[in-house]
Symmetry: C2
Subunit: 333 residues, 2 copies
Amino acid sequence: MKKLINDPENVAVEMLEGLLLAHSDQLRSVRSDNRALVRAEAPVEGKVGIATGGGSGHLPLFLGYVGKGMLDGVAVGDIFASPSSQQMLDVTRAINGGKGVLYIYGNYGGDVMNFDMAMELADLEGIQVERVVATDDVASMPKGHEEQRRGVAGMFYLYKLAAAKAELGGSLEEVKRIAEKANDNVRTMGVAMTPCILPAVGRPTFEIGDGEMEIGMGIHGEPGIHRGEMRTADSVAETLVASILDDMPVEKGGSVSVLINGLGATPLEELYIVYRAVHQLLKQRDITIYSHYIGEYATSLEMAGMSISILRVDDEFRELLKFPFTTPFRIQN
Amino acid sequence: MKKLINDPENVAVEMLEGLLLAHSDQLRSVRSDNRALVRAEAPVEGKVGIATGGGSGHLPLFLGYVGKGMLDGVAVGDIFASPSSQQMLDVTRAINGGKGVLYIYGNYGGDVMNFDMAMELADLEGIQVERVVATDDVASMPKGHEEQRRGVAGMFYLYKLAAAKAELGGSLEEVKRIAEKANDNVRTMGVAMTPCILPAVGRPTFEIGDGEMEIGMGIHGEPGIHRGEMRTADSVAETLVASILDDMPVEKGGSVSVLINGLGATPLEELYIVYRAVHQLLKQRDITIYSHYIGEYATSLEMAGMSISILRVDDEFRELLKFPFTTPFRIQN
């Protein structure tokens, strides 16, 4: 196992220590175990607070999205493990600016269970909490079962759009509506070429042949929908874009935002080659790219592979996408 | 070879096409082969132009540093290959705002030869050009032979500081002085755990055992100074920081900027664990971290590993480090 770590059991702990040493001007820990982080100025009075959470090993997901113009707080689990409901509750308390709190998280059993419990506990304390569960991964369940799908890189758009709405003064109901609308209008599909190794386990999360790739694999190595020979970037992009648009049609003349997300080991050079293909494929369908994000947004440790997310945008989304944000990881529109 | 590419010979070409499709609001191609890119508003009248260049495969190095508050232009070679002198000359012409042009590039044979020739050609056209060659890699040559060392991630500081000086109205001589001062005051040392594969070659750049790492390896897989068993992040950080500070002492009470650079496959989580160690090591020596950069700044395709760069800062550097920049890859102080 070739990892620059110390004790494999302490990866999340030491990562969090390093992160807080680096970014204490922007992030504040509200628990002695550092598993609940909030933006420095939290709670922001009169603004809906937005919290997320999930396992470690996906940086910049989840904690990289806490900052000005973005999320207010995050509960941080161990590598690929859900944080606890108590950690989520501590985030909730620390970011409640009197206008309620929205949870946005991916559809994974542990996260769902613990956020549900945190919601009940917050309710007992008189904090109004709503939730939106991201289910953007087309490959994880067939059409008609959208609500059972996993949340992957497309969750970035739920964050971005809901956060902008909250910064602009939206009510809890309005912010929730935007997050739900984002989830309804975004689809993601990925491809994996190599597994990652969980530090405390020391073995690859799955086996895959030297010349093979797997379409539709999840960010924890969940099985995809097709394993086969390595294909060209253009061919992979065609499959992913077609699957996404079959599931969520975009009309001719429509406009979208595109996220090309690297899973960890895949060089940025390759992500641009994929973007080139996606641009061509959308152009053939008379679809315009309104905005794009290319880089690592939701990783799976050192997994090689990438995902494509497509968001249908309308005037409301166009305005919200323009809103700038600043996190320790990124300053961006 | 598990790469999301099409024809292996076309990786740089298609990467550039994707990049220009994505970022044509910020970058402009001044050659039909796209091998000379300049910032959209070039030439900036009355400002010293700064150009760089080098092989592809190191994103965001080199072309990711062209933008407002940063560099003016870049010549782009094939994967790990120097661009041509003609490509460099085309950049030079396009960024000359009447105050001269500074070349900043890494100390590699092909780049040095071609930039030298471009300098002569530009001189014939009456464009005043100076150059500063980055030689920050401690491991590449012993002390006393600093000028023969390779340039690696620490080159980021030459860019950043010289660019800020140029934006603030510095003359060619002053901007050159800052770049030289940056080079004199920065040292880098890295560790590699896995090789990368050149697309057109299809084989790893070097062989390394399952449980081995190599200290001091270059970003093209150039041999390092010690190959041995995998060690902990803390132990590796200790070796790298000690080597850097042996070579370039920082006095007690001194202050530095630190760059923890991922070589490609290494997760951001691990870079924060390394930052934690570096912070502790410097604190033990009573050295303060004035600013830090943690992420991928100079990669080697999908190589696993990282490098640590340390820059000695004084009041002049502190002011220049504050100057913001905006490139397609990063908006940052």
